[in-house]
């Protein structure tokens, strides 16, 4: 390190870097912005959770309602996130590898769930599968209710997180073009082999970011799920709905403790990403330098 700085007088910097002043100003702005907008609310959550000591906070998490809510939320994320990831990869492949009319329209349809207020999303699902609709009425008669049961919650979660993976992959796959896949195919690789050995390595970071976002949002979704869940304690109450109920009961320690757990769960997936980054640091550096 010191050798390098000796060899290179500080005044010169590589042409592909910003001036140190600009660099530090940007880093400071990043810290300041995230500090005010994200860390402060997060700290507020932890302060509230620990207001009556660690023991009280842990005790509130040991209750059956809290445990059931955590399990339900994890189950829902475990089902809806992989499904959305499969959709995302398929949609990104379809959109970026083929030319067809109405592409912008299709992308906009995929974006549509974001522009629907979560409450309206819940309403849509109730209108579609509720006991008063044709499909829902028939399903209830068969003994498989969708709304106010697990399938409805999964559907609502998938709806609000639907575009994440696809939207993450599309810009990256556009950026990369089709040349590498075409080369692989010309050399005689099969479609699946090309996909696994050429495409997936190229998009893995974008895929990871998409899955992370999708997962965080899937676990944190409240508005749409609240409409379709029926909020039955210990049964269809997810973590966010349970947090809301606890808060309404003046059990703010319990509510914020559960909220802190939810934040920590999101961080676990991020740690996973960090671990992957460190493990593949060499490869990453290589792709950047090649």
């Amino acid at each position: 390190m010191s050798d390098a700085s000796l060899a290179k007088p500080a005044r010169f910097r590589p042409a592909t870097e910003e001036a140190p002043v600009a660099r530090w100003a940007m880093i400071a702005a990043a810290f300041l912005g995230l500090g005010i907008l994200v860390f402060a609310p997060l700290i507020a959550v932890f302060v509230e959770a620990l207001a009556r000591g660690v023991a009280a906070s842990l005790a509130s998490l040991a209750t059956r309602d809290a445990q059931e809510a955590i399990k339900l939320t994890l189950t829902i994320a475990a089902i809806s996130v992989p499904l959305n990831a499969i959709f995302g990869v398929a949609a990104a492949w379809f959109i970026t590898k083929f030319d067809f009319r109405g592409k912008a329209f299709l992308i906009t349809l995929i974006d549509l769930p974001f522009s629907v207020s979560p409450v309206v999303a819940g309403l849509c699902i109730v209108l579609m599968f509720g006991a008063n609709s044709a499909i829902g009425g028939w399903l209830v008669a068969q003994g498989y209710p969708i709304v106010f049961a697990m399938p409805g919650i999964i559907l609502a979660t998938m709806f609000v997180t639907f575009p994440f993976v696809a939207r993450e992959l599309i810009p990256v796959m556009i950026e990369q073009g089709r040349a590498e896949e075409e080369a692989a195919l010309t050399l005689g690789a099969s479609g699946w082999r090309t996909f696994w050995t050429v495409t997936i390595p190229n998009i893995r970071w974008a895929l990871l970011y998409g899955v992370l976002l999708c997962n965080a949002r899937a676990m944190g979704e409240f508005g749409a799920v609240a409409v379709v869940s029926g909020k039955i304690r210990g049964q269809t109450a997810t973590m966010p709905t349970t947090i809301e109920m606890l808060y309404q009961e003046y059990l703010s320690v319990a509510a914020f403790s559960l909220a802190a757990v939810l934040a920590l769960l999101a961080l676990v997936t991020l740690l996973l990403k960090t671990a992957l980054e460190i493990r593949h640091a060499d490869q990453l550096a290589a792709t950047h330098r090649h």
């Binding site: 042409a15 660099r23 940007m26 880093i27 702005a29 990043a30 912005g33 995230l34 005010i36 994200v38 402060a40 609310p41 997060l42 507020a44 959709f87 492949w93 379809f94 590898k97 083929f98 030319d99 067809f100 912008a104 906009t108 349809l109 995929i110 974006d111 974001f114 522009s115 629907v116 207020s117 979560p118 309206v120 309403l123 699902i125 209108l127 579609m128 609709s133 639907f162 575009p163 993450e168 599309i170 810009p171 990256v172 556009i174 950026e175 075409e182 195919l185 099969s190 970071w205 970011y209 976002l213 947090i243 809301e244 808060y247 509510a255 939810l262 999101a266 740690l271 950047h288 330098r289």
Partner: protein
């Protein structure tokens, strides 16, 4: 004219990827939204217009859309900066910053709303400081703006980040070696490469902000014509068991959002053609 619906391509997997895409899109998104539109259709265009064409609804729609636009613009600038800083620089605390970007999604919106209100209310940590200079944040449009920035924060950063990772240094080196200043390189080489992703992130942040309810409701004040957002009007109609009117406002919001997203996506497809990406 005579243009085929789908161009022939040597790429494999057309049937499979198209099948999965269209089936899941229909099941998860189009069918439920279709149910909403059907509800609106039974109400009739005139009914929808009558519900929407009122001062209070227009005021709420205007408030929701213009604050969402401002919040998304803020997120566009800040998100680009954040993505650049996180990928290009190495400094202590970088990983913590990186991890924090997703938190706005992980916190349930109600928790976010309660925490933000606690911080920005006149007796809160930031609210007190702002009150010193006579600036009210919570229970005004500023409060709504902050909540909307919060919920949309991850979008631009997370869509731009992977693209920044993919930028090859040679391009920048080439630009520099041809005599371009760093600023010139950023403006004319790097930003154009980032713009499809940034635009995507902007569109998503915008759409998300327009529909946001859970966090805004705590910090907004909810005074009709002043701080009443459009999603609240939908809730109000539902409380009155007025599904038709709720669907009408929902459809109005959906149409405006759809038009905005479509415009942004068309700009993208068009600029891609112009720049020469396939």
């Amino acid at each position: 004219m005579g243009k085929p619906l789908i161009h022939r391509s040597p790429m494999p997997g057309l049937g499979l990827s198209m099948g999965i895409t269209l089936t899941m899109l229909s099941l998860v998104v189009l069918l439920p939204i279709g149910a909403l539109l059907l509800k609106g259709a039974s109400y009739g265009l005139a009914g929808i217009w009558e519900t929407v064409n009122r001062d209070r609804v227009w005021a709420a729609l205007f408030l929701s859309f213009h604050l969402s636009l401002l919040a998304a613009l803020f997120n566009l600038v800040f998100g680009l900066l954040l993505a650049w800083v996180l990928v290009r620089y190495r400094f202590p605390g970088r990983r913590i910053l990186d991890a924090a970007v997703d938190l706005p999604f992980a916190l349930p919106t109600a928790v976010a709303g309660i925490s933000l209100t606690a911080l920005y209310a006149p007796n809160g940590f930031f609210g007190q400081i702002a009150a010193e200079i006579g600036w009210k944040i919570a229970y005004t449009q500023w409060g709504i703006f902050i909540a909307l920035v919060f919920v949309g924060l991850p979008f631009v950063t997370r869509t731009v980040q992977p693209v920044v990772e993919e930028i090859e240094r040679e391009v920048e080196e080439a630009s520099a070696s041809l005599g371009a200043s760093r600023l010139h390189t950023i403006r004319h080489v790097i930003l154009p490469m980032l713009s499809p992703a940034a635009l995507t992130g902007f569109a998503l942040a915008l759409a998300r902000a327009v529909g946001e309810y859970g966090s805004v409701i705590f910090i907004a004040g909810n005074i009709p014509l002043v701080t009443e957002i459009a999603p609240l009007l939908i809730i109000i109609q539902l409380e009155e068991f007025n599904y038709d009117a709720a669907a009408a406002i929902g459809i109005a919001m959906l149409l405006i959002s759809f038009a905005m997203l479509l415009a942004i996506n068309l700009i993208q497809v068009w600029s891609r053609r112009r720049i020469g990406y396939v």
